[in-house]
């Protein structure tokens, strides 16, 4: 062979810069005092502090899960900074003029529309920098429809009854190690509330940025769609290039009432470490949606391209009769990245339906695993699931695994599972090359074809972005 498929050279991570900004952090380490401090900084009500402390005490009794198909040195939880915020000139930004220009430039550089007039038509954005939300655009316009879209901290102040009603109802603090940790120390995130009968007129979006070297990011997102409401929500994330690992342990909870529809899309591009596997984000995230009402629908679409380690299973609990859960995923790993990702579809209501489409792409020396559970409870008459898990290998030093778990307790259930593994080979690239297409374009074409069923679920701008991102990530991977 004159060309070596495993030859890997550097890829560029264009979001790897650090913003030089004055920030206010608490000392590294975790204790009840730190939690009290975070809670006090956020002027939280007593019940929330109690909730956090309870989660923390429970967390102390838990051990880190080991079942995932990933290997890493456990973070030292006492070396993490649990609160870091860009220092405002005042306690709260009254307008964009008060935001540090350096911070604005950061988001401009990232391509995140922070000024409303400059935004893409029809996307409202909440921007989270390290531990706090910087700004939320289009808030007033959305408020006219009765839609609440604000930072989590703000929601705690202004809509405590809603937070109290829904917080932790889908992902209880004791759910797992990282969810418990998040519940104890979460600092900010987004809150979305779509009232009964309202179709959200624009896509809502949160952009997460980790800047501080020692800080972890523990955000919490809660989206509630009341009866007949619908919303499409987008999440994007990046982090600077550091040679240490940073922990990102987020919790996302979605609640859909009768006939409500929530579509949640993620393009995850946290820093993945360098070619030798040094540095990068540990992305240990709990995302779960509750289809509480009849005919409700929750759809997850994720494009996971970054992070040193991804440990993430956006799931649906199909409680309402005839509710629908969907999971569309592209997970790409290169160099030394490791991903263990998939979903859980828990069928509780009757005639519930779920679809799982997972596309794993492994290059370099990376490891890419799909892990998915389909559970049909004894009462879930007429449940249906279709799962398709495809893996693609680029080169011969990477690995792809599929771990499907099926727990079917009702005989009327119809469950289908398909899985394939293919290899991008020199023959496929040569074929396209022989038609005049250069190797980079050929790879991009093959990968996009492979991911087509997932990409078509993404909102337009995100789909374009995702396509570009995959090509960039695989640059020089083949040949």
């Amino acid at each position: 062979m004159t060309q070596d498929l495993s030859t890997l050279t550097s890829q560029t991570y264009k979001y790897g810069f650090v913003t030089d900004i004055e920030s206010e952090s608490v000392a590294a380490g975790l204790s009840e005092d730190v939690i009290r401090l975070i809670s006090a900084k956020k002027k939280e009500p007593e019940w929330l502090l109690t909730w956090r402390l309870k989660a923390y005490r429970h967390w102390l009794t838990m051990t880190e899960p080991k079942w995932a198909h990933v290997h890493y040195t456990k973070p030292n939880y006492n070396e993490i900074v649990y609160y870091s915020a860009p220092k405002p000139k005042q306690a709260k930004y009254a307008s964009m003029d008060e935001v540090d220009p350096e911070l604005l430039r950061t988001f401009e550089k990232l391509g995140v529309p922070i000024h409303e007039q400059a935004t893409l038509a029809g996307v409202a954005v909440d921007i989270v920098f390290d531990s706090v939300s910087v700004t939320t655009t289009y808030k007033d316009r959305l408020a006219k429809e009765g839609i609440i879209f604000c930072s989590f901290s703000e929601a705690v102040q202004e809509h405590p009854e809603l937070i109290k009603k829904y917080l932790g109802t889908v992902v209880p603090p004791s759910d797992n190690f990282f969810a418990a940790l998040n519940s104890a120390v979460f600092t900010d995130g987004s809150f979305v509330f779509i009232p009964k009968g309202v179709k959200c007129p624009m896509d809502l979006s949160t952009y997460f940025r980790i800047n501080n070297k020692e800080s972890g990011q523990f955000e919490r997102t809660l989206i509630v769609a009341e009866e007949e409401a619908s919303v499409s929500y987008l999440e994007g994330c990046t982090a600077p290039q550091f040679d240490t690992n940073q922990l990102h342990a987020a919790v996302v909870e979605l609640v859909a009432l009768d006939r409500a529809d929530i579509k949640y899309s993620t393009v995850q591009n946290w820093y993945s470490g360098n070619e030798q596997g040094v540095g990068g984000i540990f992305n240990f995230v709990t995302k779960r949606g509750l289809c509480k009402g009849v005919k409700s629908k929750i759809s997850w679409t994720q494009v996971e391209t970054g992070s040193a380690i991804t440990w993430k299973y956006p799931s649906c609990i199909l409680l309402g009769d005839e509710s629908v859960g969907e999971f569309y995923s592209v997970a790409l790993t290169n160099h030394f990245q490791q991903a263990d990702t998939g979903t859980k579809m828990i069928h509780l209501g009757q005639n519930t339906k779920s679809t799982i489409i997972s596309k794993g792409i492994a290059a370099g020396k990376s490891s890419n695993a799909y892990r998915g559970l389909v559970r049909v409870s004894p009462k879930a008459k007429g449940a249906r699931n279709f799962s398709q898990c495809d893996s693609m290998l680029i080169g011969s030093l990477c690995s792809a695994s599929t771990f499907p778990y099926l727990e079917i307790k009702n005989t009327s259930a119809k469950v289908e599972h398909e899985a394939t593994t293919s290899k991008i080979g020199e023959d496929q690239i040569f074929y396209l090359q022989q038609r005049g297409i250069n190797p980079e374009e050929a790879i991009s074409m093959i990968i996009n074809g492979f991911c087509k069923e997932v990409f078509r679920e993404l909102p337009m701008e995100f789909a374009v972005e995702a396509t570009k991102l995959l090509s960039l990530k695989l640059e020089n991977s083949v040949g």
Binding site: E426, Q433, I437, F450, K452, E453
Partner: protein, 250 residues
């Protein structure tokens, strides 16, 4: 148009082509025949630039430039086309998207205008009828789920779209039923012009009943052991290769 001089090539250090020389002029059709493992397909792949093969000696001058100085995609853009013996599947990429991209690459190299999807739609219509292909194939993924015969017809469709200067068709006739063979044969004949050339790599005479070659070459052990006119193919079909091998040994 194409002058191959003393071409030798290896695959994983094993010699597979051992000093091939061949001259192809504009307007000509050459047939390359030979027993299994004689190096027929290898010759096509080496000329097209398949990465598994290493050229150890010789040159192939195509329109004044040495092919071996160009990447495979550059050779294609210069007008070299290889019809694959086993066309590759590309799931999720529609045939029309693929064809248009390939067309535009060639158009760009020729300094012609690229076609947008609508213009391409009109253009492709004239080509699908040439190979008797249902237009629904354009919306399907490249070669995915195609029968052997459909894949081969798709190769000829690509050839019609790309309008190559030199087409090398590697066993395009295998896997075709009689009707498909006739359609493919007539398409190749219709695409024949005074300023292009075709090399047909084939096992059998049957494609040559539809496309009459000007020259027939027999490959054996990585060398051309005999060249002749169309009558050579007829005799090979009737008597096999043994007489020829004996003649060489004499």
């Amino acid at each position: 148009m194409l002058t191959i001089r003393n071409l030798s090539a290896t695959v994983q250090d094993t010699p597979v082509l051992k000093g091939i020389s061949l001259e192809v002029k504009a307007g000509e059709v050459h047939a390359i025949m030979g027993p299994n493992g004689s190096g027929k397909s290898t010759l096509g792949k080496v000329l097209a630039g398949h990465p598994s093969y290493e050229v150890t000696e010789g040159e192939a001058i195509f329109q004044g430039k040495n092919l071996f100085d160009m990447e495979a995609d550059e050779r294609a853009r210069q007008g070299l086309f290889l019809g694959f013996q086993y066309p590759i599947e590309v799931p999720g990429v529609s045939n029309s998207q693929f064809l248009r991209m390939a067309y535009n690459k060639r158009a760009e190299a020729l300094g012609q205008d690229e076609l947008d999807p609508l213009e391409f739609q009109d253009f492709i219509h004239t080509k699908t009828s040439l190979v008797g292909m249902n237009e629904s194939f354009l919306d399907r993924s490249v070669n995915e789920g195609f029968s052997g015969g459909e894949k081969k017809r798709n190769e000829i469709l690509q050839m019609a779209v790309l309008n190559p200067v030199l087409a090398i068709l590697d066993e395009t006739d295998s896997g075709l039923d009689i009707d498909a063979l006739r359609i493919v044969g007539s398409a190749i004949t219709q695409l024949r012009r005074s300023d292009n050339a075709t090399i047909l790599i084939t096992h059998y005479q049957r494609l040559l009943d539809h496309v009459t070659p000007d020259f027939v070459h027999v490959l054996q052990g990585g060398r051309i052991i005999k060249s002749g006119g169309p009558e050579l193919a007829v005799r090979l079909e009737k008597e096999g290769y043994d007489w020829l091998l004996e003649e060489i040994n004499l």
